[in-house]
């Protein structure tokens, strides 16, 4: 175990050992009952709906219907691609903000609140905000026109310009959902004792070296959490895309929505839900594996 890891372990909670009795279980009971009914049950039900036919027998037909759907391959591709583009950008920006906040410059708390504002904004509202920018007669075209870069308004949000369409979605998602990553990282940075940085400075580490050899290794567990949560949330991406691109850019959660609301097919919609659930779990395991090995490498180095 490295020194860093030992220091990061939280000291035991300041609990006084009361008589172990039934009271804590009684206090947890409402939560357990409620989550069984509205959390565990629907998860199992999603599985059941996606693999059981009307006669109750196991069937793959709903998954086959999902895979055979025109929008399926596009949805898979877009969900993965958008996740792969958006998350590195979010981590980079979030890390920049978190490091700035942690440097405690004058006004850093105000800066933290400003950076946290998008946390209170829904994916739907964020999509509408950026629609006012990217729509044909929107603010971006006003800027381009003002700078004499375009003779007439460009249409950004059209299937003829998939790159611009993607860019608009990426910008909106980065704007909306970087705050969560940022808060997790700020909280993580605050767990690192300040004398670590001071020690590093005493030994002559500055700037990049301090970041590379002190901050980032100590931040790794928190970064892992942020990545897991953010990636899982990225597979829920839905309203942002629909407000900006309609169904031109199909995504997994959006297809679950369309399958249920337009085609009234809860079975195929559940198949999508199960697919999202499975992908989320796979990604979580992947992160836990990948980041653990890298941690060992750092410990060896």
């Amino acid at each position: 175990m490295t020194v860093a890891e030992r220091r990061l372990e939280r000291p035991g909670l300041p609990l006084v050992r009361l008589r172990i009795d039934w009271l804590p279980y009684l206090l947890l009971l409402p939560t357990l009952i409620f989550l069984s009914a509205f959390f565990v049950y629907p998860m199992l039900q999603a599985l059941a709906l996606s693999v059981r036919g009307p006669d109750g027998a196991l069937t793959w037909r709903y998954f086959q219907a999902m895979v055979g759907d025109t929008y399926f391959s596009g949805a898979i591709r877009n969900s993965l691609l958008l996740t792969a583009i958006v998350i590195p950008l979010q981590v980079a920006i979030a890390l920049t903000i978190a490091l700035l906040v942690n440097s405690r410059f004058r006004g850093h708390t105000t800066f933290l609140y400003v950076a946290a504002i998008p946390l209170g904004i829904s994916d739907l509202a964020a999509g509408l905000v950026w629609l006012s920018i990217f729509t044909e007669r929107g603010y971006l075209n006003m800027l381009l026109q003002g700078l004499h870069l375009v003779p007439r308004p460009l249409t950004f949000l059209t299937f003829e310009r998939p790159l611009l369409l993607y860019g608009a979605i990426v910008a909106t998602e980065v704007w909306r959902a970087t705050a969560i990553v940022m808060l997790i990282l700020v909280a993580g940075l605050q767990l690192i004792p300040r004398d670590f940085f001071e020690t590093a400075e005493v030994f002559g580490a500055t700037g990049w070296r301090k970041l590379r050899y002190v901050t980032l290794p100590l931040l790794r567990p928190v970064l892992q959490t942020a990545l897991i949560i953010r990636t899982i949330l990225a597979f829920q991406l839905f309203a942002t895309v629909i407000t900006l691109a309609g169904r031109i850019v199909p995504v997994l959660a959006g297809e679950a929505y369309f399958q249920y609301t337009i085609y009234r097919n809860p079975h195929v919609a559940s198949a999508y839900a199960v697919l999202i659930m499975g992908t989320s779990m796979a990604v979580t395991v992947l992160y836990l594996r990948l980041l653990r090995t890298r941690e060992e490498e750092v410990a060896r180095a």
Binding site: Y113, G120, S122, S132, W175
Partner: protein, 271 residues
């Protein structure tokens, strides 16, 4: 790098990032007070000429907007009541007792934080039709409570950890029962933190789109109504901008109110 240069770089970076967050909010506010004819005109002036409440008025007068705003508020109120009533005892238990199964419960709660509405909504819609909860505000509130509970539990746990157990014990040695000690000593101290949990729950419920859209048909919440208007009914631009602006305003106020607790809400690692 010299010190003034570093200072300048810091200032520029901070200003750029703050602008990145704030500018779109300013723009949607401008758009919401621009009359419709100008929204579709070209070339378009940056500032509304003149400033006009026409766009906002059009939105509020649109079919279903006021009732669904009321629905959203009711669902949020129900969600706050349910999640505090159900989650606060659990948070208190986690902060005060060490008992077998405590870690398992805590990890389970953290795991539920990661499986949001997209997975729950469709199977619950099928179940709600059977249970008579489909298209009811209670049904939406139940789902929102399931989504909010992990946050309520985590924040109440951290709030009660900040209330010294000694105070409760002192009250008990002075003749209070356990419940009285909680009500008269711990609860008043914890109240601001609990209020923050309630406010966060409001944001979560007010902003939730997917489950609300799937689980309602006539009794829409505001995001469900707007989602339907945008996704299926092709609402005009002025409706969309006004809707976006109107949905954001409470969030802005609320983030300001609970700023002290922002780090607690998300700053817990999955370990």
């Amino acid at each position: 790098m010299s010190r003034p240069a570093r200072q300048a770089l810091l200032a520029v970076t901070v200003a750029l990032l703050a602008t990145w967050v704030l500018l779109p909010l300013v723009l949607i506010a401008l758009a919401s007070f621009t009359p419709r004819s100008q929204l579709y005109a070209w070339p378009r002036p940056l500032l509304p000429q003149p400033w006009s409440a026409e766009t906002m008025r059009f939105f509020f007068q649109a079919q279903g907007v006021l009732p669904s705003t009321l629905n959203s508020l009711l669902v949020a109120a129900l969600t706050i009541g349910l999640s505090v009533a159900i989650g606060a005892p659990a948070g208190y238990a986690l902060s005060r007792f060490r008992f077998p199964g405590r870690e398992a419960f805590r990890l389970g709660i953290l795991a539920t934080k990661m499986f949001p509405a997209t997975i729950l909504a469709v199977p619950l819609a099928v179940a709600f039709i059977r249970w008579g909860l489909y298209d009811t505000l209670w049904g939406v509130a139940f789902v929102h409570t399931a989504l909010a509970l992990p946050f309520t539990i985590i924040i109440t746990m951290s709030v009660f950890l900040g209330v010294p157990l000694e105070l409760e014990e002192a009250a008990m040695t002075l003749g209070c029962s356990r419940l009285q000690a909680f009500r008269r000593v711990a609860l008043p101290i914890a109240l601001p933190g609990l209020a923050a949990a309630a406010i966060f729950t409001f944001v979560l419920s007010w902003n939730e789109v997917f489950a609300a859209t799937i689980l309602t048909l006539r009794n829409r919440t505001l995001p469900a109504l707007v989602m339907n208007a945008v996704g299926a009914a092709g609402a005009p631009l002025d409706y969309r901008f006004a809707a976006g602006f109107f949905m954001i305003v409470p969030a802005l106020i609320i983030i300001l109110l609970i700023r002290r607790y922002l780090l607690t809400l998300w700053g817990v690692t999955v370990r």
